[in-house]
Structure formats: C-alpha cells, structure tokens
C-alpha cells in the first residue's frame, strides 16, 4: 500500500521527467539524425579554407582508427572491429574508394608502412606483413609478431605506432588510470610509470619481442594516440591526452569552466629519456606554465619543478588529439609544408560546459618547431551536436596520399574523407 501510494505521488515526477526527455528528443541534439544524414560530396559537410575541398571516399567502415597510404594509392585502414575486419584495404579512385580486401581478427588502432612492411597493432601486440613491390600484402596469413604482451589494462590501451629512419618502432603505452590516484595512495611515486604512461622503442627487425626487450624511450605521458616522426628535425612528436576531472576531484581549486579548459592537450617533441611529468604535473596553456598537480601538493597556482619536459605547444583541454601528421606534400600551398595537422576527436570531460574539438587543426611549423598559433583547418565533422554521443563524425586518423591529398578517418560515423587543394 505504501509502495503504491508512493508510486502515485511520483507520477507527476515521471511525467515531468518524460516531458523533459521528450523535449530533448526534439532538439537538434537528437542522435537519430545520424542515421539519416547523407554525406554531401560538395565539401562532405566540412568547412575548409578557400581552395580546399573534401570528399567522402567511403562510408560505414567498422570503427576506422589510424590509416596508411601506399604510393600506388592503396589505403590500409586499421578498424577497431576485429572479426576479419581488423585491416581494411581500399583503393582511391579519385572521388570514391573501392574496397579491395579485409583481414585480421583483432581490433586496435595503430598502422604504419615502412621499408616494404605493413605494421599493425592490436591493443597488446605489434604485427607486420610483407608487402610486394606494388605495396600489397603478399599473404595476410604470413603474419609476423614483432612484439607481444604489451601492457593492456583496458583504459588507454590503444597502441599507436610510428617508425624512424634507423630501424626503430615507437609505440604508446597509455596509463591505465586518469591521474594514478588508485595506484599511488601514499604519494610515494606512481607505479603505473613502470609498465605504461610512456613511449616504448623496439627494433623493427627483431621478431617475437616482449615489452622488456624494448626501451622506455620517454615517460610521464598519460596517453598518446596521435604521434608522428618529424622528418625536418628527425624527431618523434606526440600528442598527449591530458588528465580529466580537475573540478570533480578538487572543486575548491578549480571551477567547472577551469576544469573544462585545463589542463592543456600537449604536443611534445621527444628525445630519449624525456619525462613529461604525468601524473605529477600538468600544463596550463593559458598561462603557458607547467603546474604542480593538485594530487601532489599543487593548489592551482603553484608551478611545477622545472626538471619536467615542457610541451612544444599546448591546446585547450579535453580536445582529444587522436591523429598527428607532418605534411610533406606539395599539393597544398607552401605554408602547409612541414607543418602539422592534428585530428581532435572531440571532448567529453568539458561537461557541464559545452563540448569542443571535433575538428582538424593545422599547426604551422618553422625549422622543425611549432611556430605561431594553431588554426582550425577542417570543422563540421560533428554536425549540429558537438557531443560524444551526438556527433555524426569524429576525426581520428590522418595520412598523406602520394599526390599530397590528406586522408581523415572518422571512427564515429565510419567515414573516410579525402581533402584536396586546387589553385
């Protein structure tokens, strides 16, 4: 009886909740829009600088993450769906791409081509496949394991890879924690740094390596998804996803607005044994200062120990940089050459502030270092609702084609874009 009464009295509450929900569905936030949109070939729904155009080469791919393009115009896309779809091979026919084949029973993110091999990662291993002189995988069954058993504790477990010109492959091992609070309760040092939160370096020509066979090349990096080798100064550049929840964990030190803007998403130029300072420090892109983290004696004002590596450039909080590419082509105007494109997947941890990112940014470079303010290069991926579940598309991986076109994957809607320039 009491239960029933309570239920009756709750009815108006249900009604109100229902009304709120119903109204929410009428707003442009409606997720169902995503199933009915058609990509427009005139710009593919993207806004770009004048002279640039975009086409959707393929749609409905199965979680396309990073990608690599051969000089013959074949596109290898790493898909997060395993089940024979781990690697999708397409050919660029100009304004459409044809699917040639697919293989690989593992998900994951990383993919790269170097010296006649296709390198691909699952969330714990690095494999390779020999390519023929046309850049085609000779036999998908002839899969070689370069490294297996890399740290994979669910959180931040995607493995991004890049190769240098000296026979090394670099892989990101993301921290399996936001800010190490559960692994460093007495603040004596974060144990996650032992087997993750850094970039590991392995020899490419040695098969069946374990994590311990590699070198911890750089540490104190919370999670890197976008990374690339900068050919101008022959150096590894990575994009770090900064920590979350400054306000939630320290409401007296950070407002929700500050917690949305901070900390910075950082670009680092790495050398061997660099330490970027996670979880002890974070970068404030507005003050251009390295700050002591609140878990380790910071108060929102105290600067960090200068021994930690400063970022090469800082970007607003939670934008989620998932792709980094140094542009070396000649198709785009001269100012883009040797600069960096960054694919910002888009934020979630800015709530209750509006979500941001969901765009492609260009960072001008000079003499191998960032030079000047970044600019939004391509926007409009998300559609009317810039939110993690409402966005129609979210940019993730980047690659440069043989003619200098720029390829962008979208792991939300499953599209593959090509951006080109015509004078």
């Amino acid at each position: 009886m009491k239960m029933k009464k309570a239920f009756i009295f709750l009815l108006p509450v249900f009604a109100a909740a229902g009304l709120i929900l119903f109204n929410a569905c009428k707003s442009p936030d409606n997720k169902s829009v995503s199933t009915t949109t058609k990509p427009s070939t005139a710009g593919a729904g993207l806004t770009l600088p004048s002279g640039f155009s975009a086409v959707v080469l393929a749609e409905k791919l199965k979680g396309p993450r990073h990608l690599a393009v051969t000089s013959q115009g074949d596109i290898y896309v790493k898909q997060s769906d395993g089940n024979g779809n781990g690697i999708l091979v397409l050919h660029d026919d100009g304004d459409k791409a044809t699917i040639k084949s697919h293989f690989g029973n593992y998900g994951g993110t990383g993919i790269a081509i170097k010296n006649g091999y296709l390198y691909v990662t699952s969330n714990s291993d690095i494999y390779r496949y020999k390519l023929d002189d046309k850049g085609q995988v000779i036999d998908p069954a002839m899969q070689e394991t370069v490294v297996s058993g890399l740290t994979n504790k669910r959180m931040h477990n995607s493995k991004s890879i890049v190769l240098d010109n000296d026979g090394n492959i670099y892989v990101n091992l993301g921290a399996y924690s936001n800010i190490c609070e559960e692994y460093d309760k007495d603040k004596k040092g974060c144990s996650v740094l032992n087997d993750a939160a850094g970039i590991w370096q392995f020899k490419v020509d040695k098969l069946n390596q374990k994590q311990s066979d590699g070198v911890k090349y750089a540490t104190g990096l919370r999670n890197v998804v976008g990374l690339d080798w900068n050919p101008q100064d022959n150096q590894l550049f990575v994009m770090q996803h900064g920590r979350d929840a400054l306000h939630d964990l320290f409401p007296s030190m950070y407002t929700t607005k500050q917690s949305a803007d901070l900390p910075s998403e950082c670009m680092y130029a790495l050398k061997k044994d660099d330490n970027a300072g996670w979880p002890y420090v974070y970068y404030d892109w507005m003050q251009k200062k390295l700050m002591q983290g609140p878990e380790y004696g910071g108060d929102g004002k105290k600067e960090a120990d200068a021994k930690y590596l400063r970022p090469a450039m800082g970007y607003p909080g939670h934008f989620a940089p998932d792709g980094l590419l140094f542009y070396t082509g000649s198709q785009f105007p001269e100012r883009y050459k040797n600069g960096a494109f960054i694919a910002f997947h888009g934020s979630w941890n800015r709530a209750p502030e509006p979500q941001e990112g969901y765009c492609l940014v260009f960072q001008p470079f000079k003499n191998g270092k960032p030079d000047g303010q970044y600019e939004v290069f391509a926007d409009g991926f998300a559609g009317p609702n810039k939110s993690p579940d409402g966005a129609l598309h979210r940019p993730c991986g980047l690659a440069q084609g043989p003619d200098g076109s720029l390829y962008v994957t979208d792991d939300q809607g499953g599209s593959l874009y090509k951006i080109s320039y015509k004078k």
Partner: protein
C-alpha cells in the same frame, strides 16, 4: 445539521489526505531534486547530463541491468568504483570509475534514486537504509 457535520468531516478528511499527499509528493520530488544535485556535481562529467555516457569510454546509465537491476550491486559500484570489463549492448567501456565512498548514505540513496528514475529509467527508489546495509556489508571498504 447532520448533513453539515458529514460534509465537514468529509472536507477535513479530504484536506488531511491532500496535505499528506502533498508532503509525500514533496519528499519524493525532494529526493530526486537532491539526487540531481549530487549527480551534477559527481556523476555528470563522465556519464553526461542525459545519462548517455561516452562511447567506448564511460558506460551509459540507461537500458542496463547495472543500473536497473540489483540495488546492492549498484550501491557497491558507487562505494568501490568500477574497474572491470563491462559490456553493455555489445559495446565495451574502458575508463575506470573512482570510488565515491565519501558520499553520505543519504547522498548515495538520493543520486541512485535520481538515476533509476531519470533518462527514461523507471526503476524503484534506493533508500538510505539500503545504502547503510550495503555499506556495512561492503568488504572492499577502505581499499
């Protein structure tokens, strides 16, 4: 006279009943209102204002037995956090949830009642007594 007194009696009963209805309605609505305040300050940043969560990272709070099912299990997720492989409707979610055992029994009851009755969810309330009992039987506390 007899009729008047009957009417008077009826009116009194009606007023009394209405007042008690008002009070009860007030308290249920108040629970949800308090729960929403806790939700906004503790849960919203990850699970979003609509309870949608974030694809592949933070689980949704709708259409899942984790939220709509066993209340003790749900209370323990709030108390202990969550760091397990979770599959909801074929999607997996990788972020770790931090423990929130610092919340009071009342705050946990309020916020879980709010969550179980919002975003299209229509599950029963969580009482302070249920939280107290789950906390007492929680082996992970202090871990």
């Amino acid at each position: 006279m007899k009729r008047t007194s009957f009417l008077f009696f009826f009116a009194t009963v009606f007023v009394a009943f209405n007042a008690s209805a008002q009070a009860k309605r007030g308290s249920a609505a108040a629970t949800i209102a308090r729960g929403q305040i806790v939700y906004k300050s503790v849960c919203l940043a990850c699970h979003m204002a609509t309870g949608s969560g974030v694809p592949r990272l933070n689980p949704p709070l709708t259409n899942t037995t984790y939220v709509l099912g066993d209340k003790t299990a749900l209370i323990k997720i709030v108390l202990n956090g969550f760091n397990e492989d979770v599959q909801i409707n074929g999607q997996s979610y990788s972020n770790t949830m931090t423990p929130h055992s610092d919340l009071t029994d009342r705050q946990i009851a309020d916020v879980l009642t709010y969550v179980r009755k919002s975003f299209g969810n229509k599950a029963s309330s969580v009482s302070v007594a249920e939280v107290k009992k789950a906390r007492a039987g929680n082996v992970n506390i202090g871990k």
